[in-house]
């Protein structure tokens, strides 16, 4: 039960937490029905091939097999995709990436399904894969899709660059950077349970970030109206962007409808590496022009994102990469081009940052390079150029709220550095300190209206007012359902609040992505609560009039701590008395402030709802002979606007920072001619408890006056400047100019 002390600013325990430590919390992979069948996906072993034949007869012949489906069996749209529906539900004609789904087999048990899938004979005419995104941009390159290799292109010209060349600058630094492909590596595998509804529809229990976007795509592929597909958010074992696209959804639902039986799907870890889009690998070419004192004059950037075989979220990611390309700095002139390219590498899409992590590595590296070129301190150069309130982005958008970039960097710089170890001599080691800053927008951009819906019901039970908040916001472990509860407690002034996770029968909350849920769903919950509060007060006035207290009824009234209080703070009635047997039931839709598309010529427009800012400091020790890096300490400062749940926020800062460390030092999907070489935790290394040092967090609250409760998006920022700061620290320790992440020991100590 919640208490009044569990409102905004407190850190009450999440309602799911006890079940999780006891082991009873059901994730999507834990669901089962007695009569369910297991389904398994057959995937392409080739990055590029023409399918000449698919012979499923041997699979059908395996005892216990119930169904085998290929593209021929898809009743509706054969392709899906949130932005550009170009991704086959099951391959037909051509497979375009290693791991592309070709068929699905359902059987009485998992082992039988796997064995039967292995019996399917697919004829492949192997083709040469397109694997170089930079080459794919050149005219005459082999095509991945007939319409050309460019998925999306965003062009920004700001300042004098709109009418001509960039100005001359006394100091010019250039760099070419590479960010390799990172995987979300959420621990809970892709999984779901599809149950036929009996009315020709289907219910799907699935771990997802976006139940309503899933529904829309599933319905289209199954040729069903959307109300026949009910997506029920099931327990999620982490997401980080990797559950925004479909994985098991259509496959499981289709077979469930065909068989009239529940269908369970659950990917293995190996399969998971093939089962969702990854973070785009990128090549970034930057030129920074500055005055001799380090004041930026211009930034020119070309960003080439390797989108892989299908579009996924690449169009929006490309826009983000471009709008975030210069970082949290005042840049009077900018020329930015960002492309997402098709290749036969694995499809890439949303991962914590959504196209802004890669530019952060590049622009922060450039700021260090600029500092070195003019002999200035790296923090000083950043402070000199830092954006602030009223600053203008290269899209022309003005920051109309606090933008404490300098403040965050200064706080980190002022933190004492951990004591040096006794000896840096044996073995030869060097200590380095690095700083980085970043920005990230909140919610969807360029005119997308990603609103949220919330419902609040208030009734009296056991003599006390009890509220239920209903939202379809996907809880992926970040704690949105807890935040929602806290907001309701504070806004209703009532301690007893429970939260229900709704399915898609309820209105959309928008995808759990883009650091948006606290802002948008928080806004919806707040709006619904305010509606409820208005109704309580209306009932209160009626009650008071009836009770012959018209003066009080006409005066100012407020709801506080379950009481109706008058203008002098005296209790006039209790909420319970005033409500009686009425049930107050209010639903609200919250739309964030409007945004606008970027104009196609110069990329100008107020495209973002809001920006958040963060900075990191990294302290590393480097074994100079072996090139091995120990991260000694990570510190971060982040402006969260208003901290609804400080402990949960700290958790996001810790977790995002650790993922940034992973990208800096060890995480890379390794490819060879489009083949994934390391689909395993043995060879795709994520940081362990021994790799991540203690992380100091400094949570700054500078409210956004345009946001509900002043909040700013939190979850993505920590994954940005963490990577850049660690690499900056390694550079400081070694004097080596590193331009690629993840950094390998050989980058630090090259050996012929």
């Amino acid at each position: 039960m919640t208490r009044l002390t569990d409102g905004i600013g407190a850190s009450p325990r999440h309602q799911d937490a006890e079940a999780k430590v006891r082991g009873g919390f059901a994730y999507s992979s834990d669901l089962s029905r007695d009569d369910m069948v297991w389904a398994v996906t057959l995937r392409s072993p080739h990055p590029h091939a023409r399918i000449t034949a698919i012979d499923t007869s041997a699979a059908w012949a395996v005892p216990g097999v119930r169904d085998v489906i290929t593209h021929r069996d898809i009743p509706g749209e054969k392709r899906y995709g949130q932005m550009k529906p170009d991704q086959p539900v099951l391959a037909f004609g051509t497979v375009r990436y290693h791991g592309e789904p070709v068929a699905v087999v359902a059987a009485d048990d998992l082992r039988t399904a796997r064995r039967a899938a292995g019996r399917i004979r697919v004829g492949y005419e192997v083709r040469a894969p397109v694997v170089d995104a930079v080459a794919a941009l050149r005219p005459g390159s082999a095509l991945v899709h007939p319409d050309g290799n460019v998925v999306a292109h965003t062009r920004i010209r700001h300042g004098v660059a709109q009418s001509g060349d960039l100005p001359r600058a006394p100091v010019v630094v250039r760099g070419e950077y590479a960010v390799k492909m990172q995987d979300q590596a959420f621990l809970g595998p892709e999984s779901g349970l599809a149950v036929p509804a009996g009315d020709g529809g289907v219910e799907l229990y699935v771990a997802t970030q976006g139940p309503h976007t899933d529904r829309q795509q599933v319905a289209a592929c199954l040729a069903l109206s959307q109300n026949k597909v009910v997506i029920k958010p099931a327990g999620v074992g982490g997401a980080f962007g990797g559950r925004e696209d479909l994985s098991v959804q259509v496959h499981a639902c289709l077979i469930a409808l065909r068989l009239g039986l529940p269908v369970k799907m659950c990917y293995s870890r190996r399969e998971s590496f093939f089962g969702h889009p990854h973070r785009h690998a990128a090549v970034l070419r930057y030129t920074h022009g500055a005055d001799r004192d380090g004041t930026l004059i211009y930034v020119q950037a070309e960003i080439i994102l390797d989108g892989g075989a299908y579009a996924s979220s690449s169009p929006a990611i490309t826009g983000n990469a471009a709008t975030h390309a210069v970082g949290p700095y005042r840049v009077p002139n900018a020329a930015v081009d960002a492309w997402a390219m098709y290749t036969n590498n694995p499809p890439c899409g949303a991962m914590r940052g959504f196209g802004t992590v890669q530019p952060c590595f590049a622009y922060e590296s450039q700021m260090d390079k600029l500092a070195a070129a003019i002999g200035a301190d790296p923090v000083a150069v950043r402070l000199r150029n830092a954006l602030g309130e009223g600053g203008r982005l290269p899209t022309g958008q003005v920051l109309d709220g606090p933008a404490p970039v300098a403040h965050l960097l200064s706080r980190l710089r002022d933190l004492p550095v951990p004591a040096d170890p006794d000896s840096l001599e044996s073995p030869p080691r060097a200590r380095g300190v690095g700083y980085a800053a970043c920005l990230k927008n909140t919610a969807f951009s360029e005119g997308f209206d990603d609103y949220s819906t919330a419902r609040v019901r208030l009734r009296v039970a056991g003599g006390q007012p009890v509220a239920t908040v209903i939202t379809a916001a996907a809880e992926v472990g970040q704690g949105i359902l807890g935040v929602v509860r806290q907001i309701a407690v504070s806004e209703l002034g009532i301690g007893d609040v429970e939260v229900e996770q709704a399915d898609t029968v309820f209105g959309p909350a928008g995808t759990t992505a883009a650091s948006r849920q606290t802002y948008v769903t928080g806004g919806a919950v707040r709006a619904a609560c305010l509606s409820v509060r208005d109704e309580i007060l209306a009932l209160a006035r009626k009650t008071l009039v009836r009770e012959h207290a018209p003066a009080i009824a006409a005066g100012s009234l407020a709801v506080r701590d379950g009481m109706i209080v008058d203008g002098s703070g005296r209790v006039a009635a209790t909420v319970a008395d005033v409500i009686g047997t009425t049930v107050i039931d209010k639903t609200a839709e919250f739309h964030h402030r409007p945004t606008y598309p970027l104009d196609p010529v110069n990329g100008q427009g107020d495209s973002a709802v809001q920006f958040g800012f963060a900075a990191h400091r990294a302290v590393v020790d480097v074994d100079l002979e072996l090139g091995l890096v120990t991260v000694v300490e990570l510190a971060t400062a982040q402006d969260v606007g208003r901290a609804i749940n400080p402990v949960a926020i700290a958790g996001q800062l810790h977790g995002g920072t650790a993922q940034g460390l992973g990208l800096a030092l060890m995480e890379e999907i390794k490819l060879d001619s489009g083949h994934v070489l390391n689909p395993s935790f043995a060879t795709y290394l994520v940081p362990t408890m021994r790799d991540v040092p203690p992380i100091r967090t400094d949570i700054v609250e500078m409210a956004d006056p345009h946001a509900p409760l002043g909040v700013r998006g939190v979850g993505e920022l920590p994954a940005h400047s963490s990577t850049a700061a660690i690499v900056a620290a390694i550079r400081a320790a070694t004097g080596r100019w590193l331009n690629r992440v993840p950094v390998s020991p050989e980058d630090i100590t090259p050996c012929a």
Partner: protein
């Protein structure tokens, strides 16, 4: 092929002999319904499936069901004594260390095993001993703090 009999959390469970070549993880989850034991990699890399096998911490994905025949297994449900929480579980809650929670059952098993063997481990030992339990959400920070708390120590006192 003989029947398998394993004592789980003090209670005897049986499976027919055809299960002997499966992993203990598979049998615990799919035959006996212990879904608290998680499958996050099935190759011994992540620790999500950690259980106590005859009081020794093991990744159940790497144990053959046949090897557990006649043995005793403890899962996270077997740790709470009559319903009340183990100190590690309580500390994880109090520290706010649980995000998605998928790593948590394995983490609880590993941490409780560590504290049984070493009641007041310094932070460096905690990080070394629990390195086989991956977490993707928390950056490990609050998990480490929770283990220190459960051990009755603070970060300062642990010598870090």
């Amino acid at each position: 092929m003989t029947q398998l009999s394993v004592t789980v959390n003090g209670k005897r469970y049986q499976a027919d002999g055809s299960a002997e070549g499966e992993s203990l993880l598979f049998v615990l989850r799919e035959r006996w319904g212990f879904t608290s034991v998680k499958n996050a990699c099935e190759e011994g890399e992540c620790g999500g499936c950690a259980v106590l096998l005859d009081d020794v911490l093991a990744n159940s994905c790497l144990v053959l069901a046949a090897q557990a025949d006649g043995a005793s297994v403890t899962t996270v449900e077997g740790l709470h004594d009559g319903g009340s929480l183990h100190p590690v579980q309580r500390a994880l809650l109090d520290e706010g260390a649980v995000q998605c929670g998928f790593c948590i059952p394995g983490m609880v098993m590993a941490a409780s095993d560590l504290l049984r063997r070493c009641p007041r481990p310094p932070e460096a030992v905690i990080r070394w001993e629990l390195a086989g339990n991956l977490c993707r959400c928390t950056g490990y920070q609050k998990i480490v703090e929770a283990v220190l708390r459960a051990a009755g120590t603070t970060r300062e006192a642990s010598g870090t």
